[in-house]
């Protein structure tokens, strides 16, 4: 069960401005999904190692050799606000 307050908290973490209707709906839908998913709590999993990597590869390293960077205008080509000094954004301000 995920209530309205939790939905708002998670939405803030995920930077989503949900409307009131969406918050309601999200609470219902996520609760239904979580009810189903929570069945995994019934399993006995003591001592089972979590799989954080599916393949058996280690040390995929690259040599410290320069590769050509993107030209500046290409890097900024899709920028919503491309300024001379860089990507324009509203200032973070006091947080």
């Amino acid at each position: 069960m995920i209530d309205r307050a939790q939905v708002l908290h998670v939405a803030k973490l995920a930077r989503l401005a949900l409307s009131d209707d969406e918050v309601e709906q999200m609470s219902r839908e996520l609760s239904a999904v979580l009810d189903h998913i929570e069945k995994i709590s019934e399993l006995r999993l003591d001592g089972v190692a979590p799989t954080s990597h599916v393949i058996d590869v280690v040390n995929a390293l690259r040599p410290d050799e320069p590769r050509r960077s993107l030209p500046r205008d290409v890097a900024l080509a899709s920028a919503p606000e491309a300024l001379e000094q860089g990507f324009g954004v509203p200032s973070p301000g006091a947080s």
């Binding site: 239904a32 995994i40 979590p50």
Partner: protein, 479 residues
């Protein structure tokens, strides 16, 4: 022109090499059909507006046009992953697998529609409208790679690229009556694939037959220095040529073939099992004890990884930006406006599963379940060469039928998700029709068993003799 459309990719390649079909002609034949699709199937988000600059007749794939799912980065061509937040975005680079195939001779026909950020099982979650099933336009083609599947099934492209995270190649292949393959995780580079779930996403082919799938796959696999999670495929992908299944031990997992499978699908499945036995295979039931929990684990792991992968869509460097009073407003309003409902749902689910106090119970546990699922497969493969299941519990459902019930939608993946969690290869081939709609048959094997998989699938395909032409319509016109 219509006879050109009837050629498989392998056949067309041979004819181009032989000189009696020109690559340009072939490309144009498909391009015209793809461009004419429009809202009929709505399979494409972008179609090339003319022939490619230098088709390569001497390359192995000899100028065969390829449709590519929207989420593969193609330099200078819209790559939007079906999302409004990337509408019109043109990347400055091309995905490795697309570049490899271009080097092998394929030409870019178009980008195909998909569920937004590959999240969905019906292609109803696209910001660019739903895709329709060429067998019945009131029904879904499956998802998330619905556009690629519909395009190949309707003869708008000879073959196409899709991606499979929990079933997004196999399930649409089943619902559209074509072949779809998900390779061993790591066999194909993910560099340039707009990510959904990093530990699950894999590129794969949609084709009309198993031979074409092998042909395309051969030029897709290979380790990529740009993808740390990619591996070299041991040996080569071979074109299949078996005539029977003697000596092949097939296992039928009880947990994936029990209740929840539609009767028409079950009938077709059982008929194929009988056929396999006639062809010399041994068929026995087996257990995958943790398979019933695979879906639950998947719907924690995939959204969790996705919630982080989609954090880069913040309005700063590319894509949609909604102007606001302050930075926080810009972030939240941009993402609210740019993401569809399903994507928001999964971001919320994933963020929650990772959040403080919930990690161990959700994400942590799901990763343990994943270990057990992989162990179950390993144990089964000690007794069996391949495991078989229906690909999807149902045939194509109607547009709108499951849209309001996320849980019901998620259950479409019940037969395909376990293989994704274990990272093993799986293929879906059409094995019959139920109420006029195609049914899919899934085979899976241990890691790097693609050749054995393709071989068995080929034998069955030849014996089944499935006819996919109804979806392509009479005289080459779309059905």
């Amino acid at each position: 022109m219509s006879e050109l459309i009837e050629l498989t990719a392998a056949q067309a390649a041979e004819r181009i090499r032989g000189g009696d079909v020109s690559a340009a002609e072939l490309f144009e034949a498909y391009r015209v059909r793809a461009a004419a699709d429009g809202d009929d199937l709505n399979a494409f988000t972008w179609v090339a507006d003319g022939p490619p600059e230098d088709p390569q007749p001497n390359a192995p794939l000899a100028g065969i046009p390829l449709a590519v799912k929207d989420l593969f980065c193609t330099e200078g061509v819209p790559s939007q992953s079906g999302s409004k937040i990337l509408e019109g975005y043109e990347p400055p680079y091309t995905a490795t697998v697309v570049a490899k195939l271009a080097q092998a001779g394929t030409t870019l026909l178009g980008k195909t529609n998909q569920d937004e950020f590959a999240m969905g099982s019906s292609n109803e979650n696209s910001a660019f409208g739903p895709v329709r099933n060429p067998w019945d336009r009131t029904r879904v083609p499956g998802g998330s790679s619905g556009g690629s599947a519909a395009a190949v099934a309707a003869g708008l492209a000879p073959w196409a690229l899709g991606t499979d995270t929990g079933g997004s190649i196999r399930q649409p292949a089943a619902l559209c009556g074509i072949v779809g393959l998900k390779p061993t995780y790591g066999a194909i580079s993910r560099y340039g694939m707009i990510a959904f779930a990093s530990s699950l996403d894999q590129a794969g082919p949609f084709t009309r037959d198993v031979t074409d799938a092998a042909l395309l796959l051969r030029h897709m696999v290979g380790q990529d220095a740009c993808d740390s999670t990619s591996l070299a495929f041991p040996g080569e992908i071979e074109l299949p040529k078996g005539v029977d299944l003697r000596g092949v031990k097939l296992g039928v997992p009880e947990e994936l073939t029990g209740e929840g499978i539609e009767s028409g699908v079950r009938e077709a499945f059982n008929a194929t099992l009988a056929l396999a036995e006639q062809l010399g295979a041994s068929v026995e039931t087996c257990r995958l004890p943790h398979a019933p929990h695979a879906l639950n684990a998947y719907y924690l792991i995939a959204p969790a990884e996705a919630s982080a992968n989609l954090a880069r869509f913040d309005g700063v460097r590319y894509g949609l930006r909604v102007d606001a009073d302050d930075l926080l407003g810009m972030y939240t309003q941009t993402r609210e406006a740019g993401f569809g409902a399903e994507v928001k749902r999964r971001i919320m689910l994933g963020t929650y599963a990772l959040s403080s106090g919930y990690y161990d119970a959700y994400y942590g546990r799901a990763q343990q379940v994943r270990t057990k699922v992989a162990d179950d497969f390993r144990a089964a493969f000690e007794r069996f060469d391949l495991l078989v299941t229906p690909t999807s519990p149902s045939v194509a459902f109607r547009l709108g039928e499951k849209v309001d019930d996320p849980l019901a939608m998620y259950l479409s993946d019940v037969c395909t998700v376990p293989m994704s969690l274990a990272g093993i290869p799986a293929i879906s081939i059409p094995n019959g029709v139920s109420d006029g709609l195609p049914v899919g048959f899934q085979l899976c094997g241990p890691a790097f068993s693609e050749n054995r998989l393709l071989s068995a699938a080929y034998v069955l395909e030849q014996a089944l003799g499935f006819d996919g032409s109804p979806a392509r319509g009479a005289n080459g016109a779309p059905a």
